[in-house]
């Protein structure tokens, strides 16, 4: 299965994504603006007017929110990157990619490599903005495992986006995925509120949501505050990541031009 995996092809697709990323300034601004507003407005607004009874003393809401918004940034940018297969289909470039004598596995590898890079850049920009707002990282060394969690989130949701895009004929389903997949995953991930003391149905849904473990892991590493154990966070993320890679590769391999 891996004998046709070509690093040149991965690099080529990655390079294309980087060029597009650097050129589309408005895209970067749009991608950063939304999380920025969440942090600045929701963080400041809720943080200064409400008291979250589940937050330990000394952790204000804004600190709590930063890892959550990083998770959100990764979710959005990765899903969009995966779904950009739809744009390539619409504008015909997918044909150029798929007709080349290279394996689809390398193609999917290249798409994911590009998406992970841009996702990490954006998530870290949000972290920087968070630092500006007063966020303090518990321990600098924790940044390295935190990066791994960010990569796992990015790879998983890019593969999920590719899986959806492989099954969709055109752009019409995009809003549907936005409303019924991306938004629920975001809202149910514990990015915005603590998981302690939730009604049982909400708690149940949050536990089903893979992003919950991503956000929890980031929070554990960056803030030293977590709901689950870091081992559980990592295990579930790795399993989810493998499952999505498998599904994305399978569906993309079988998608028609």
């Amino acid at each position: 299965m891996f004998k046709n995996f070509k690093c040149e092809v991965v690099y080529n697709l990655w390079l294309r994504e980087m060029k597009r990323f650097v050129r589309a300034k408005s895209r970067l601004v749009a991608n950063i603006a939304q999380p920025f507003f969440w942090l600045a407005i929701m963080g400041m607004g809720f943080g200064s007017t409400m008291k979250f009874r589940e937050l330990p003393p000394g952790v204000d809401y804004l600190n709590f929110l930063v890892p959550g918004i990083m998770g959100m940034t990764l979710l959005f940018s990765s899903m969009f990157a995966g779904l950009s297969v739809l744009w390539d289909r619409q504008f015909g470039f997918l044909k150029e990619i798929l007709v080349a004598p290279v394996s689809r596995l390398s193609i999917i590898g290249g798409m994911i490599a590009g998406s992970v890079t841009t996702g990490l850049i954006q998530a870290n920009l949000i972290l920087l903005i968070g630092l500006f707002f007063g966020f303090r990282i518990s321990h600098p060394a924790a940044l390295i495992p935190a990066m791994i969690i960010m990569m796992l989130i990015a790879v998983s949701f890019t593969a999920m986006g590719i899986a959806f895009a492989s099954k969709m004929e055109d752009m019409h389903g995009f809003q549907l995925i936005m409303n019924f997949v991306i938004m629920p995953i975001f809202f149910l991930s514990g990015a915005l509120f603590p998981l302690e003391g939730l009604p049982s149905w909400l708690s149940f849904l949050a536990r089903l949501n893979p992003l919950t473990y991503g956000v929890d892991g980031l929070r554990a590493l960056l803030l030293g505050l977590s709901h689950f154990s870091i081992q559980l966070d990592f295990s579930i993320l790795i399993l989810f990541c493998l499952a999505m890679l498998g599904l994305g590769t399978y569906l993309f391999k079988n998608c028609e031009l």
Binding site: E8, N12, L15, R16, K19, R20, G92, E96, V99, L257
Partner: protein, 329 residues
């Protein structure tokens, strides 16, 4: 070796037979045209040859590679220009070519040189660093053709290369196609529903209708098969003139109506002076003369029994049919 061999190729989509048991071969170095109306099955044939679509039955070989068994070898040895645009318009022209070269494993040393070569071939070298977003339709088409050549393919497929382009741009693209056929010694297979395009470019043409090949011939031979030229002439006393014409033995058929006399003759251009002299001798004033030589369009109608674009039925072919009907009596 033939560039392309197709034997009893068939493609079915559920109940629809898009390509129905066709066979043809394309020689190396040829420009070969698949001519037919929209929906005739041209693109389906190209897609099967380019390994983008699986055949239902039959044999299709490109440079002796079977499209079913060796799809990667086929893909490496062909270049394709799709009917619909397929460029990344957020990249420059050069970057699009570079992307393609890397996908096809063109080595770094050759890559740069080759990009320059193909860009010069389609006169885009000066625009190489402009985003494709800012290219005109004709420039995009030319860039796609250049891209199709990047990896030194031996066969180039062009699916409706000039669809939707203006007249000057079409001309320019034709020149480029002929140039690359000569300079790159590449076999070109193109689909088109433009008669003039097939006539201008192709060494041989396959006329396709409803999934079947009706004939494969050179445009010249096809036109010769149609036989005579037609001279339409108007003179002051048409009745008298047409009676006197019977003394001229080189006229193969006469019909008249609405003050126009239509004659079917061979080598029409040489017969026009003779006709004018003849009319003057009879003291009749010639009002107008026109010559119509058979076109590929006439051939097409003759084979398919209908015009390629029904709404543009040409009056000349009607005249031809009238004459045929009369002379056969």
């Amino acid at each position: 070796m033939d560039a392309i061999t197709v034997k009893n190729l068939t493609k079915k989509f559920d109940d629809l037979i898009a390509v129905n048991d066709i066979s043809f071969t394309v020689k190396e170095g040829e420009i070969f045209g698949l001519l037919g109306p929209n929906g005739a099955g041209k693109t389906t044939i190209i897609k099967m040859l380019a390994t983008m679509l699986k055949k239902t039955s039959g044999v299709a070989r490109v440079l002796d590679w079977d499209v079913g068994k060796n799809p990667d070898e086929v893909r490496r040895s062909i270049g394709i220009v799709f009917q619909d645009p397929s460029l990344d318009d957020q990249l420059t022209g050069k970057e699009n070519l570079d992307f393609h070269a890397r996908m096809y494993g063109v080595r770094k040393k050759i890559r740069k040189e080759r990009i320059e070569q193909v860009l010069n071939l389609v006169d885009l070298f000066g625009k190489k660093d402009i985003l494709v977003n800012n290219y005109s339709g004709g420039m995009r088409r030319r860039l796609e053709i250049a891209r199709g050549l990047m990896h030194y393919p031996r066969v180039l497929f062009l699916d409706e290369p000039t669809l939707g382009l203006d007249t000057q741009t079409r001309r320019a693209i034709w020149e480029h196609i002929i140039k690359l056929n000569h300079e790159e010694k590449i076999t070109v297979i193109l689909t088109t529903h433009y008669m003039d395009e097939a006539d201008f470019l192709c060494n041989r043409v396959a006329i396709i209708d409803e999934g079947k090949i009706l004939v494969v011939e050179s445009p010249e031979n096809l036109k010769n098969m149609m036989g005579e030229d037609i001279i339409s002439i108007g003179v002051s006393d048409g009745e008298a003139f047409s009676k006197k014409l019977s003394s001229l033995n080189w006229i193969q058929g006469v019909s008249h109506g609405d003050g126009i006399i239509n004659l079917s003759v061979k080598r029409g251009e040489e017969k026009i002076p003779l006709l004018i002299n003849f009319a003057q001798k009879e003291n009749l004033a010639v009002q107008f003369v026109s010559l119509h030589k058979p076109t590929l369009e006439d051939v097409f109608i003759d084979f398919t029994g209908r015009n390629i674009r029904e709404e543009n039925g040409s009056t000349k072919t009607l005249i031809r049919d009238m004459i045929r009907a009369r002379t056969r009596k």
